[in-house]
Symmetry: D3
Subunit: 248 residues, 6 copies
């Protein structure tokens, strides 16, 4: 019943997923993640400091925060830099808050010491799903950074309790699709982003109908489709980390 | 099995919901909405103009956009104004985008003419659920505004195809609760906001675990709980509008 | 000699004045003040802190400051928010400085302890005289807030030495008028705002001819007219407070 | 009854007033004005354009606007530039609005053509009364600029219907004083700025008691004192212009 | 006489220089340039528009402009994004103006049509000489972009009249060095950046002594040293382009 | 061989140079410097404080920083203020950084104590060479300020080790010219600014070809021409200071 998609994939098929370690060697950990043509530089940097509000409220442990940006040449029409426009747009704010929440769900901040873990995600090429690629890659960058800190004796143990990954699903032309590319995403009737841990628990479920609505059945179907893709992503993350961490 | 909540409600019980029309008479339509102690001024104003990007891309019809703010005295500790801080915080950006998307899902923008419908939601008193009260009230303000425009001959027909309302649900102390107040919301393990039309179709499902995760069963339970509350809200909206529109 | 005004008032007649207590229950004290169709939310909030410059210069006692804004739906054409425009306009700056000076003239800051009393005035509906309504209402909000703090033992005594109110006067069509509404204010040849204490002493006299000038006689006449209106406002304030403070 | 002031002046005596033409030769007209040690560069520049709102509303004629700033080295402690602080402070906003209103009261904007007359007042040295010196000097700069434009045939006639000047008066140590210097101004109980035309009509009367109040008698006394000083300033302006305009 | 440098180079030796084409495929042309550990993404993007000032002044032809930024993880201590600081720092402004001027010196803007060529340089890893690597790489990105436009028929001919490259030289520990790395640059007594065309003509000579000075002889020596390095860079650029352009 | 310039000067001739002390008496030291029609107010102000980064890094001694601005009436077309545009333009940033570096090259910051020396340069009239006039005048203002501090016992000794001055040179119509005025500067093929100490050592050499290039011979010629002019400027500075410092 399901016809092939414009890029030849089946409805429930991920794009080719690749991870390249150490793209930014000055970061504590870094990964270049690709979901098909979508490519994002994910870098984790440790800073020996915590935000002012934590100090004032004497919250113990550390903090984790994320920043996201699209490089000007990541889109087919050049995208103006945030600093030239004078402000971050609403979409960027939403995405960087989502990345931060997703990673904080799997880290034990108390085990991070008086440190802040910065996760920077800069999109080198955008073809849909930049936020889900960012979360998936940010976890890997964080994991590599944490290992370096543990190996250097700056952390007593790994504060990451689980892995985390994200994928988009949506309804496009009446069909439920996994991992939408830009062409599909732009005209989808329903667009959802699902964040899940390696152990299969949800961190975030966001499903929106821009100028459209959806039924309980559609929601259930999309979530199941996402769960299946997220299992694959978790396996790919594990395989990559196994290889990388042996190298250390 | 479920103990009473701090304000005496049952787990699946809404707070007292009230709507007061015409709180801001210079607006085209306005409502003061209360979800318990949470009170929001919702005002719909028509502007005979559309955004620049619509003109440039020659998109036909009108536009609908929302702005949200918390008045400085809406919280127990005075909240600094956006203009004093110099920028809108991330939470506000997320909320006003959500209100806009929710209302755009039920309006036929082509029937709005070359107009922009502004939905302003200003929180007079905050006790949890300000975004869901805002969406619920913004629909009413929009409906009253539209009626005035239809009656005045400025619109040929009502462009609103359906009603829309929102409610929060969450897991607090292991229990699934409807319509969380501030005390519950602040310490909830899982926090979800569900937006649904009067005909029972979803507009938006957002479920987050801040520093926590949740299972498929919990997600299903929360959504069912929200649906039940949203049916009540839709009835209350209908009753209010019936009374108001007869008055015109 | 004087013809009736557009709203049927005599030249020396105030609009209907009303005060509604507790409009914003999370504030320490609050009042919704109406001068005819002009309606302003006035809220007084206490903050256990003083500005940095007071700490640095070791000034004893507390501080009082005011913020003023027009809600977007307070005017017939929607008014853009300060944060959307990116700055406070000059008129708003003038008004909030005037409100602050007016209230500081009647408070003994040394008796306020190491606290800041914030006075927020948000215009719900604008029909001329929003700054004079704001001052008149801000005093009431401050008085209610102070009483709550005295009753709670957070202040040893009432730091307000006197009451304060304000009214506009102007020359319109050659006639001297009290308490101008928007239509009168917009085209007035001379526009004055007078702030006076309950004991009849001036706090501020501001009289301007925008693209016009005025004589000594006109100035004297306007001031006398304002004084008569301000006596009535002081009586109305006293009556309201007597009733409210008995209720506590 | 009146003791001498700290600088040896009598209570009703102006400081030495001087005007130096052409301080900024690239301006259309310019004057360096001194009220004692207070020195302000006043420059009038014509721009062949009007503000957008005038074009949109098709208001005929031209516009006049003023900007005021204190140079960083004008005060004994260096004053940070507006651009370094990131915003104009409230006092500056008030002053530049006052200068603009004062000059607009004596100009017939319809006779200005489709031009904007900019009046820039930059304080080179501040010793009290910078706003009154600015208004007094800005009129002279405007008059010189207008003459140059008339002589060059760019204006058909002089659009200035009258001259305008300003002076401060105040109550200091219980005594009513004319033209306060910084030491007097800083600790004055009442501080007033009066703007008057050459023909003796008021343009603006502003009298404030910062943390103090004043009686009707004091107000009357201050205004009379200011009127006497303003007559002298008008004579000095006339003498200066007579000499300058003959030179053209 | 010259001892080896910390990284083993001779005083007049460049670091290993590499160019990798097509690092950002959505750009019209792009190169990842490395000067040793310094790595910069250089992307050239064409926009079918020119700046407003060119339209207003009816300047014929196109425009070329550059933007430069350091990615947050490019430095050993994380560098805050411009948008988080709220402004571009002075060093960044200087660098992006230098890149723009350098490229404009070798392009015939009249041959660019009504287009803007954007040159974005984002530093992935910083180890000294980021501005010289940016200029050297930006030329290559521009050349590849221009070729694509010529091949696609969007440009009639190549508007680049010559190539351009840049290198740093400096006095460090009394010795004149070519192509300083971060450790050398940070403590150099004199620091110079020289921009030269492929035909050996200067575009820009900037030599500064921060808290130091230099003699005519030192200036002459540094310039000669730079010229020698710039000849090598020009050869490397030619070799790279020959290979790339054959591939098209 | 060289024809006369538009203002009658020879190719290697400076414009008339004048210095007027004490233009801004509230500054610690101040000079009005003229290079022909270019006039700049240079003021040096001492502040008993150092920047935060110096305190944090415990750098001993003081700091010197410069700010530059063009007054709105300094140009033939009125120049908008930085604060009205909302940001400092790139050219201003470059110039104030250059002034700061130039002065820091001749001062021993350790001898400045825990103080910041602010150098403010405000252009009263612009006719080319405003940055070189600023540097030349800023040195004089700094020297006068330092003398006042030494005389008052606030500094133990003069921290200025040498004098510093600057001049522009350029290629205009194929001819190498000294001290370009606006007409020459605007259309120069090559434009250089050279900063040199009184002892003849370079502080900064900046030579740019905007949309043009230059040869080694031209660079050598321009530098020699500048050196000759800078010797004259150093003599004029010495003569001025000798006269001023005797007056103290």
């Amino acid at each position: 019943m399901s016809s092939l998609r414009s890029d030849g994939r089946k409805a429930d098929q991920l794009r080719p997923i690749t991870f390249e370690a150490n793209i930014a060697p000055h970061a504590t950990g870094s990964v270049l993640v690709s979901f098909g043509a979508t490519r994002v530089i994910c870098a984790a940097t440790i800073e020996a400091n915590v935000p002012t509000w934590m100090k004032q409220q004497r919250v113990p442990g550390g903090w984790l925060t994320a920043e996201y940006s699209m490089l000007p040449y990541s889109t087919l029409d050049r995208k103006q830099r945030d600093i030239s426009r004078g402000k971050i747009d609403g979409r960027t704010v939403e995405i960087q808050r989502l990345i931060g929440r997703s990673l904080r769900a799997v880290i034990d901040l108390k085990k991070l010491g008086q440190n802040t873990l910065w996760l920077d995600c800069d999109v080198l090429q955008a073809d849909g799903g930049t936020r889900t690629a960012s979360i998936t890659g940010a976890y890997l960058a964080a994991r590599l950074a944490v290992q370096k800190l543990v190996d250097a004796g700056r952390l007593a143990e790994n504060p990451l309790a689980d892995s985390v990954a994200a994928v988009s699903v949506g309804v496009f032309g009446g069909q439920e699709l996994l991992d939408l590319n830009y062409v599909e995403d732009k005209d989808a009737e329903v667009d959802a982003n699902i964040v899940m841990t390696g152990q299969g628990r949800f961190v975030e479920v966001q499903s929106s109908g821009e100028e459209a609505t959806f039924s309980t059945e559609q929601l259930t179907g999309l979530i199941a489709l996402a769960q299946q893709g997220l299992k694959q992503l978790a396996s790919l993350q594990t395989a990559f980390l196994t290889k990388q961490l042996l190298k250390f």
